[in-house]
C-alpha cells in the first residue's frame, strides 16, 4: 500500500480500478505498416470529423476548444512540418511526433502565456494523429472497467470528450491545476480529481482510493484502509442527505453559487442558488489580448446580471497576480507571488485600468442587485482607497448622465490573517465579508497549498483556521454586516456543518450538483 498526495484536487471520493492512459503508442510499435493504422490523409480526415463532431455536440466552452483545434488541424504549417519530417525519412508516427515537439517547442519559447498554451493544443492534436497512424491508444478508452480511475500524465479535451462517464469514477494526473481542463470536466461531471500526483509505478488494474477532500491517493490499499475509506464515504454520503445546515440562531445558511463564466451563472441559478456569491472576472481579462474596455466589461457584467434573474450578484474585482498572470500587463516575475503583487494591491497599482472595471460594475448595477468584492485586502487603507475610487467613478457617471447604481455595496474578501485581526475595523467600512477559505488556510497555516510535503498542514478544519473564521463572523455580526464563505471548505458537508455552527450567513458553492442537492430539501 502506497499513499501519495496531489497538489490540487476536485472534491469527492471514489474507489476504483486504475486505467493508465499511455502517451500514445511507443515508437517501436509505430513502424510503417505496423499496427494496422491509417494513412496520414485518413488520420487527418478522421481527426477533422472528430473535432467537428465534438465542436457541434459540445457546450459553450468545449465547443470553442474544438473549433480552435479544428483551425490548427487544418493549418498548412502543421501539415508542412509533418511532411518535412517524412521527407527526412521518418515513419509517419515519428514524423507526427517530431512535428509535435518542434511546433510545441516553438510556442513554448514565446514569452507569452496565451501563446505558450497553444503548445498544448498542438500536442493534443498531434497525439490524436499519431494514435490514428499507429492504431494505438483509442481502444484503452473503449474497454473501460465499470469503476475506471483514469491515470494519465495529463488529460486533454480530446481525451475527455471520448470518455464514457457512466464508467469513469475519478481522474488522477501528474500535470494540471484547479483551473485546467481536467478540473473543469471533473467538476462538471461531479467526480473527484487529483492533480500533480506522482503517478510513477501505478499500473492498469491497480486498486486506487481517491480522496479529493484530503488530496490523498492510496494505491493498493490494505483492508484497514479500505474500511476507513468506505466508512468516511458513507458518513459523507449520509451527511449529504442532511438538510441545509442551521446556524446557531436556527435559521438555515443561504446557498449561493460560484461562477467563473457567464455559463456558470446560468447553471448555478438553474440549480437553485439564491444568488452568485463569487463571480470571478478573470476570464474577462484572460480571454482578451489587451486590457478590456469599459464597454466590453459592461456588456459582460450586464449579461451576468440578466442571467441572475433578479438574484444578487457579487462581482469580484480582478484577482490577478500570484498564480494567474496577464500577458498584456507585463507583470514582472516574483519570487513569492502569493505574497506579492496580487488582488487589490495590483488593482490599486493600476488605477487607470481598475477604474474601467469599477465603472462597468457600477453601470451593471443599474440592471439588478450587484455588489463588488475586493480580494486580498490586508489593510483598512486599501479598502478606503477602493471606496474613494468608487465614489469618484459614481460622481463621474452621475455627471455623464449614465445609468448606474448610486449606492453600490462594496465588500471585501477576508483571506489574509491581517484582515481577520482587523475585522472589527474593516467591518465598519465594508458592506459585507466573504471568507476565502483557500487562501485564508494557506496564509494562516503558512502552508503552500501547492506543496504536497505540507499537504497535511493545509487543512481548513484546523482549529487555527476555524478560530480565524469565528473571529471574522463575530466582527461581522457586531457591525451588522453579512459574512459568507466562498472557498472549498464549503464544498463538503462536514465543512458546511462547521461553518454553520460558527454562524456564517451563506456559503457559495462551485458545484451545481451540490447546490441543487441542498436546495431540493
Amino acid at each position: 500500500m502506497v499513499t501519495r498526495y496531489g497538489i490540487a484536487s476536485v472534491e469527492g471520493m471514489a474507489a476504483g480500478t486504475a486505467v493508465l492512459l499511455a502517451k500514445g503508442a511507443s515508437p517501436e510499435e509505430g513502424a510503417p505498416g505496423a499496427g494496422g493504422g491509417m494513412t496520414l490523409d485518413e488520420a487527418f480526415e478522421a481527426e477533422k470529423k472528430k473535432f467537428e463532431a465534438f465542436s457541434r455536440e459540445g457546450s459553450g466552452e468545449t465547443a470553442g476548444i474544438f473549433a480552435a483545434h479544428l483551425e490548427i488541424l487544418e493549418d498548412p504549417m502543421l501539415r508542412e512540418t509533418i511532411e518535412g519530417r517524412l521527407a527526412d525519412g521518418l515513419s509517419p508516427v515519428d514524423a507526427v511526433r517530431a512535428a509535435s515537439d518542434e511546433l510545441a517547442a516553438m510556442f513554448a519559447e514565446i514569452d507569452d502565456e496565451y501563446l505558450r498554451a497553444r503548445a498544448d493544443d498542438v500536442r493534443d492534436i498531434c497525439r490524436g494523429l499519431s494514435d490514428r497512424l499507429s492504431g494505438g491508444r483509442s481502444n484503452t478508452l473503449d474497454n473501460l472497467p465499470e469503476d475506471a480511475v483514469i491515470v494519465a500524465e495529463e488529460l486533454f479535451p480530446s481525451d475527455t470528450a471520448e470518455m464514457d462517464f457512466g464508467k469513469v469514477r475519478a481522474f488522477v494526473t501528474r500535470k494540471g491545476s484547479v483551473t485546467s481542463h481536467v478540473s473543469i470536466i471533473a467538476r462538471s461531471k461531479g467526480i473527484p480529481a487529483l492533480l500533480g500526483v506522482d503517478i510513477d509505478g501505478i499500473g492498469t488494474g491497480d486498486r486506487l482510493l481517491v480522496d479529493g477532500n484530503t488530496r490523498q491517493l492510496t494505491v493498493g490499499p490494505d483492508e484497514g484502509a479500505e474500511k476507513a475509506f468506505f466508512a468516511k464515504m458513507k458518513q459523507l454520503a449520509e451527511s449529504d442527505e442532511e438538510d441545509v445546515p442551521l446556524r446557531p440562531a436556527g435559521t438555515p445558511v443561504a446557498v449561493f453559487g460560484n461562477a467563473g463564466s457567464l455559463e456558470d451563472i446560468t447553471v448555478a441559478i438553474e440549480a437553485g442558488a439564491e444568488g452568485i456569491g463569487l463571480f470571478r472576472t478573470e476570464f474577462v481579462f484572460m480571454n482578451a489580448s489587451y486590457f478590456p474596455t469599459e464597454e466590453e466589461q459592461f456588456a459582460i457584467y450586464r449579461e451576468a446580471v440578466r442571467r441572475c434573474n433578479g438574484k444578487p450578484l457579487i462581482i469580484r474585482a480582478l484577482d490577478i497576480g500570484g498564480d494567474k498572470a496577464l500577458p498584456y500587463l507585463n507583470l514582472p516575475p516574483e519570487e513569492n507571488p502569493f505574497l506579492g503583487m496580487r488582488g487589490v494591491r495590483l488593482c490599486l497599482k493600476h488605477p487607470e485600468g481598475f477604474r474601467l472595471q469599477v465603472r462597468a460594475i457600477l453601470r451593471a448595477g443599474a440592471f439588478g442587485p450587484v455588489r463588488m468584492m475586493i480580494p486580498m485586502v490586508a489593510k483598512e487603507g486599501e479598502l478606503e482607497d477602493v471606496l474613494r475610487l468608487v465614489k469618484v467613478c459614481t460622481e463621474e457617471l452621475e455627471r455623464e448622465g449614465v445609468a448606474h447604481d448610486p449606492t453600490l455595496q462594496v465588500g471585501i474578501m477576508v483571506e489574509t490573517p491581517a484582515a481577520v485581526l482587523m475585522a472589527p475595523e474593516l467591518a465598519r467600512k465594508a458592506a459585507f465579508f466573504s471568507i476565502g477559505t483557500n487562501d485564508l488556510t494557506q496564509y494562516t497555516m503558512a502552508a503552500d497549498r501547492g506543496n504536497p510535503g505540507v499537504a497535511p498542514l493545509y487543512n481548513p478544519m484546523d482549529p487555527a483556521v476555524k478560530r480565524a473564521i469565528e473571529m471574522t463572523v463575530v466582527a461581522g455580526r457586531e457591525a451588522g454586516i453579512p459574512v459568507g464563505i466562498c472557498g472549498e471548505m464549503a464544498s463538503t458537508a462536514e465543512g458546511r456543518r462547521v461553518l454553520a455552527s460558527l454562524g456564517v450567513d451563506s456559503v457559495s458553492l462551485s458545484s451545481p450538483r451540490q447546490i441543487s442537492k441542498l436546495k431540493q430539501k
Partner: protein, 86 residues
C-alpha cells in the same frame, strides 16, 4: 508581387484576435499568396500557427509580400489589420 515593410505598434504585440483576422483575410484572397517575414523567418499568411510563431511584438519590423491577382487589396488589408491592432 507587392511588398511592404511595417512595424508592429500594438503595445502587447499581435495576439490571437488580430492574427486570426490576418489569416481569415489572407484566405479570402484565394488566388493570392501572402507571406510574412521577420529577420528570423518567413511564414505563410494563411497559417495561424505560422503567424503566431513569429511572436510579433511591439517594435518588430515585418515584411509582407503578396503575389497574385488581388495582391494590392490583400497587401492593403493585412497592413491595415497590423496597423490598427490594439
Amino acid at each position: 508581387m507587392k511588398t511592404q515593410k511595417i512595424t508592429v505598434l500594438a503595445e502587447n504585440g499581435l495576439h490571437a484576435r488580430p492574427v486570426g483576422d490576418i489569416v481569415r483575410a489572407v484566405k479570402s484572397y484565394a488566388e493570392t499568396t501572402v507571406t510574412l517575414a521577420t529577420p528570423a523567418k518567413t511564414v505563410s499568411g494563411a497559417s495561424m500557427l505560422g503567424v503566431l510563431s513569429l511572436g510579433l511584438k511591439a517594435g518588430t519590423e515585418v515584411e509582407i509580400t503578396a503575389n497574385g491577382p488581388q495582391e494590392d487589396q490583400a497587401l492593403a488589408a493585412i497592413v491595415r489589420i497590423i496597423e490598427t491592432a490594439e
